[in-house]
Every structure is written in structure tokens, then in C-alpha cells.
């Protein structure tokens, strides 16, 4: 190995390390601050990096004031129901668009494409008015409502179905499978990676969304983690250690899921990116 080669390898590692540090620094600072007292967090001389002793007081205070069990449940239920709906309905529609011939196919698929090109904010006022008219504000249903069906999911899974060989269906047909049986037993298992990717996209989108839960579920009991944080921030605006404790409480479940399933997350996004 030449000297210049070795130098370039060190340089590459240095750049990557610096970038990686920048990625995690905000999270480290969030966690460190959450264990400090208010005085420690605002002390500049000396500047306190590590809390002198690690106290859970900020957490207990935040948990006392806000019902996080409720927030976890609301967020989890919203994500779970959105995943179920978008996977089920998108897989059905995607299979039909990819594999079946029927009148109106391109017209209806045009609708799917059209929805994807329009910014989602354009749907929000009418969707809010619908939820309001149904008397369903401040419910889990309201949180799930805009995600009942997914144009994006339909498009994504269609790409996966289109990649499967034609012979599979012919063989299934010869075995006497109906179209429904072919879809469920033969084709669906083969697009599992697409379903996983769509599940991850749906979960992340629902978890991160701020505007919709803020608009439709204004009562504290019906908030999600994200929309509750917006409220907590305006209530505690100066007590940063408590704010950081609330932020940690809001993000750790998703971080944990990510750390466990990191391979699926990254590969799901990488493969579907290539398909879009």
C-alpha cells in the first residue's frame, strides 16, 4: 500500500467520522441535557457537559404532567392501523394494476399517479371538515383517516408485482387457482420485501407527522407523541432539561425499533427507491 493510498483512506475515515458525529451529536446533547438540573443546563462558567449526578427528576416531572402511556398508545394505534390499511388495500390494488386486465385500468391508475403529484396540504381542510362532520375529532379514527388508503403504497407495490415472472400465474391457473387464490397464496408472499418497505414508510410517516394530529386531535388525551411535543414546548419553553426529557420519551421507541430492524429499514428504502 502506497503512502498516498493510506493517506486517502485516513482522510475518508476522518470525513465519515466527522459527519457521523454531527448526526449523533444532537441526540447525545438531548440525552445529556435531560439528566441535568435547570441550573446545570444554563451554567456557562463552568460550562457543564456531563450532569454532576444523573437524575431522573426531569423524566418523573414530565411523566407526572403528561400522560405518556396515553400518547404511546395513540401513536402506536395510529401507526398499526395505518400500516394494516395501507398494506391490505395497496397490495390488492397494486396486484390488479400490475397483473390483471380490466376496463378502466389506466384511468384509475392515472388517479393514483395524480394523487402522488399533489401536495398533501391540499387535502387537509376538506379532510378535517369530514372528520368534524362525522363527529370523530379527538379519536384514533381521526388520526388514521387520511391514511386509510395509500396512492404511494399502491404505486410502490405495483412496481414489485410487475417484477415477478408471468409463468407463476400461468402455473397457478393450471393448478386450478382462482385469481384471488393466486394473489393471496402465490403472488403476495413473493413481494414480502415490498410489503416490509411500505410498512416502514407508513410507520415513519405516521410517527413523524405533526400537522394533521395537531389539527384534528386538539385535546391532550387524543394527541400523538409529535403533536404533544409541540404543546409541551410551548408550556415549558424555558426549562430545557424537562423539554429534552420529553423529547427523549417521544423518540426512544422508534429509535429502538430502528436499531433492532436497521437492516430492514435501510434495505427497504434502498430497494424501493430503485423501484420508484
Amino acid at each position: 500500500m502506497t503512502a498516498s493510498h493510506r493517506f486517502s483512506r485516513i482522510l475518508v475515515q476522518a470525513i465519515l467520522l466527522a459527519g457521523g458525529f454531527a448526526m449523533v451529536l444532537p441526540f447525545l446533547w438531548m440525552a445529556l441535557t435531560s439528566f441535568k438540573t435547570a441550573t446545570e443546563s444554563t451554567s456557562m462558567n463552568p460550562f457543564v457537559i456531563f450532569p454532576s449526578d444523573w437524575k431522573w427528576e426531569n423524566y418523573t416531572e414530565v411523566l407526572r404532567q403528561y400522560d405518556f402511556v396515553r400518547l404511546y398508545w395513540n401513536t402506536f394505534a395510529m401507526m398499526a392501523l395505518r400500516i394494516v390499511c395501507s398494506l391490505l388495500f395497496s397490495a390488492m390494488a397494486a396486484y390488479a394494476f400490475a397483473r390483471l386486465k380490466f376496463p378502466g385500468r389506466s384511468l384509475f391508475f392515472g388517479l393514483v399517479l395524480f394523487q402522488m403529484m399533489v401536495p398533501t396540504q391540499i387535502f387537509i381542510i376538506p379532510q378535517y371538515l369530514m372528520v368534524d362532520a362525522l363527529g370523530m375529532r379527538n379519536t384514533i379514527f381521526a388520526l388514521v383517516f387520511p391514511g386509510l388508503v395509500s396512492a404511494f403504497g399502491t404505486f410502490l407495490l405495483r412496481q414489485f408485482f410487475m417484477g415477478l415472472p408471468k409463468e407463476l400465474e400461468e402455473a397457478a391457473k393450471l393448478d386450478g387457482c382462482s385469481i384471488g387464490q393466486t394473489f393471496v397464496r402465490v403472488m403476495l408472499p413473493l413481494v414480502r420485501s415490498g410489503l416490509v418497505a411500505l410498512g416502514i414508510f407508513t410507520a415513519l410517516f405516521a410517527f413523524k407527522d405533526l400537522m394533521w394530529p395537531m389539527i384534528v386531535n386538539t385535546s391532550a388525551d387524543a394527541a400523538t407523541l409529535s403533536s404533544a411535543l409541540a404543546k409541551i414546548q410551548s408550556a415549558y419553553s424555558v426549562h430545557y432539561p424537562q423539554l429534552m426529557a420529553a423529547a427523549v420519551l417521544a423518540i426512544w421507541p422508534m429509535l429502538l425499533v430502528y436499531v433492532i430492524f436497521q437492516k430492514q429499514f435501510i434495505e427497504g428504502i434502498a430497494t424501493s427507491g430503485g423501484k420508484l
Binding site: 465519515l16 456557562m44 387537509i124 386509510l148 388508503v149 405533526l210 423539554l243 428504502i269
Partner: protein
């Protein structure tokens, strides 16, 4: 015989039609109710003035659009939205490309770096913005502490009208670099090795190799990332909402179209004006996307 055959064929075709309609029905009905009709409703609502107590909606024709043309806030928001997109999209993609190229090889720690760079993507923007706001804090923030150690004076990261948008863009870039990197890396890995081997024989330098081989071959992925990032960036809301209150002196220099839409529709309860603003956003996104589709022929190379 042929009659029999014809009937069998017809019943089979019919069953395929029925299955097709049955399978798409939930999605299509859902899309029509949740998305297609609402587009029309929003467009219709933008012709009304709403909000005054007990008065309900009053038809005002194109007054909301006329009002928008003379509303300095709308012009601020339009400029801010474009500035945000023009800061975040090129820079985040440039950084993502740099990292992807560095990782696309036998770099040590590749999968660990990939995992780490992707972390901001799985955190809620509401939480992330809170910690950035704390890092940016004028008096007690880590950033200004670092500056003071270097002998520099403090910066009002979130309240100085000339600075705040850049502070927000940093968060936007930080949040999406990992996502874009994963997509670009997947694109880079599809480039056949032979291309690089051929260039090794030609004795091309690393930089030359990047511009002559890598960039053109990854251009379809890059195009996809640019178009989707641009659409995403023009819908920016969360970060600005969490960072800048309406009373912040930098509000006019940071408010985005979606933030302005939110304020008008759900804070001031003027859904008509809010609808008009979101129609403007629609037009903006369609124009920008159309331009990109047009320009792509000049630089995107499909194999």
C-alpha cells in the same frame, strides 16, 4: 367447439374484470373521497371568505387571490419556501453524494456509517427541532459556547432575521442526508464494475472518474432524489413551526407557505384564504416539477 371455447374465454375475462374492480375498489373509493374530491373542495373554498363568527362562508370570487397578490406575508412565504428548498436540496444531496461515494467501496465500517447517518430520519421532527433549538440557544446553547471558546461573539441563531433561515436549513439538511445517501448508494451499487476497470486502464484520476463515469451513470437515481426532495422541501412546515413562533422577530424571514396556510386555516380560522395559499403551493410545485422534467433530458442518462 369454438362456441364453447368462446364462452369459456368470456367467463374467464369477465372474472378477471370483476376481480380487477373488486381489488382496486377500496383504494379507488378511498382516493376519490379522501383526495380527489378534496382537491375540488379546496379550490372551491378558495373562492370564499370564512371566519367571521356566525357569518359562515361568504362568496368572494377571486378576492382571496387578489388579496394574496398584495399580501407581503405571502410574498415572504413564497420567497422563504424557495430559499429553503434551494438551500436544502442541493446541499443535502451534495453531502449525501459525498458520503455515498466514500462508502461505495471497501470502506471500513460501511454498514455502521450507513446506520448512523440514517438515524435522523427515524426521529420525529418535533423532537429533533426542540434539541436543535436548544443547541442554537443564544445564551446557553452548545453552539454559542463553542463560538465563545474560539473567541467569537455569539450569534442569535433563531431570532436574527438574516440568520434564522440558514439555521433552519441546517436542520433540514441534517435530517435528510442519510435518507438521500441510502438511495444514492443503492444507485451507485448498480453501476457495473467493468466501467471502473476500463477507466483504471485509461489512467483516469479519482475526480475525473467521478464526473465521467459515476455521475452520468447514477443520474437517473439522482434525478429521482432531486425531484422528490424538491417537492418535500417546498412543503416544509414542522421544523419552522417548532422553531419560530409568530412573535419571533425572524418570523417574516422564515415563515413558509405551509406554515402560513396552517396559521390562516387553523389559527385565524380563515379557511378560504388558507385554501387560496395552498392552491398557490400546488401551482408552485407543479411548475417546479415540470421545469425539472423538461431539464432532465439535458443531464439524465438512461442506459
Amino acid at each position: 367447439m369454438s362456441k364453447e371455447h368462446g364462452r369459456a374465454f368470456r367467463s374467464q375475462t369477465l372474472s378477471e374484470w370483476l376481480w380487477g374492480w373488486f381489488l382496486i375498489a377500496p383504494t379507488i373509493v378511498g382516493l376519490i373521497v379522501l383526495n380527489i374530491v378534496p382537491i375540488g373542495q379546496t379550490a372551491y373554498l378558495s373562492l370564499f371568505k370564512s371566519g367571521d363568527f356566525g357569518k359562515g362562508n361568504v362568496y368572494v370570487g377571486f378576492d382571496n387571490y387578489r388579496k394574496m397578490a398584495h399580501d407581503p406575508q405571502v410574498w415572504h412565504a413564497l420567497g422563504n419556501t424557495l430559499l429553503y428548498a434551494l438551500l436544502v436540496v442541493p446541499l443535502s444531496i451534495a453531502f449525501a453524494m459525498l458520503v455515498a461515494v466514500l462508502l461505495n467501496g471497501k470502506t471500513r465500517g460501511k454498514s455502521l456509517y450507513r446506520t448512523v447517518y440514517f438515524i435522523p430520519m427515524v426521529a420525529a421532527p418535533a423532537a429533533v427541532t426542540m434539541v436543535w433549538k436548544w443547541l442554537y440557544n443564544e445564551h446557553f446553547g452548545l453552539l454559542n459556547y463553542g463560538l465563545s471558546r474560539l473567541g467569537m461573539s455569539a450569534v442569535d441563531w433563531t431570532t436574527d432575521p438574516n440568520v434564522a433561515m440558514f439555521s433552519i436549513a441546517v436542520i433540514g439538511i441534517w435530517s435528510v442526508v442519510g435518507y438521500n445517501m441510502v438511495l444514492l448508494l443503492a444507485g451507485l451499487q448498480e453501476i457495473p464494475r467493468d466501467f471502473y476497470e476500463a477507466s483504471d486502464i485509461d489512467g483516469a484520476g479519482k475526480l475525473q472518474r467521478f464526473f465521467v463515469i459515476t455521475l452520468p451513470l447514477v443520474s437517473p437515481t439522482l434525478f429521482f432524489v432531486v425531484v422528490t426532495s424538491m417537492i418535500q422541501a417546498m412543503q416544509v412546515f414542522d421544523v419552522i413551526y417548532m422553531m419560530i413562533e409568530v412573535t419571533n422577530p425572524a418570523y417574516d424571514h422564515t415563515v413558509s407557505l405551509v406554515y402560513l396556510f396552517y396559521n390562516n386555516a387553523f389559527k385565524y380560522f380563515n379557511k378560504g384564504y388558507g385554501s387560496a395559499i395552498v392552491m398557490l403551493l400546488l401551482v408552485l410545485i407543479l411548475i417546479v416539477t415540470a421545469i425539472q422534467m423538461k431539464v432532465q433530458k439535458k443531464w439524465v442518462q438512461y442506459l
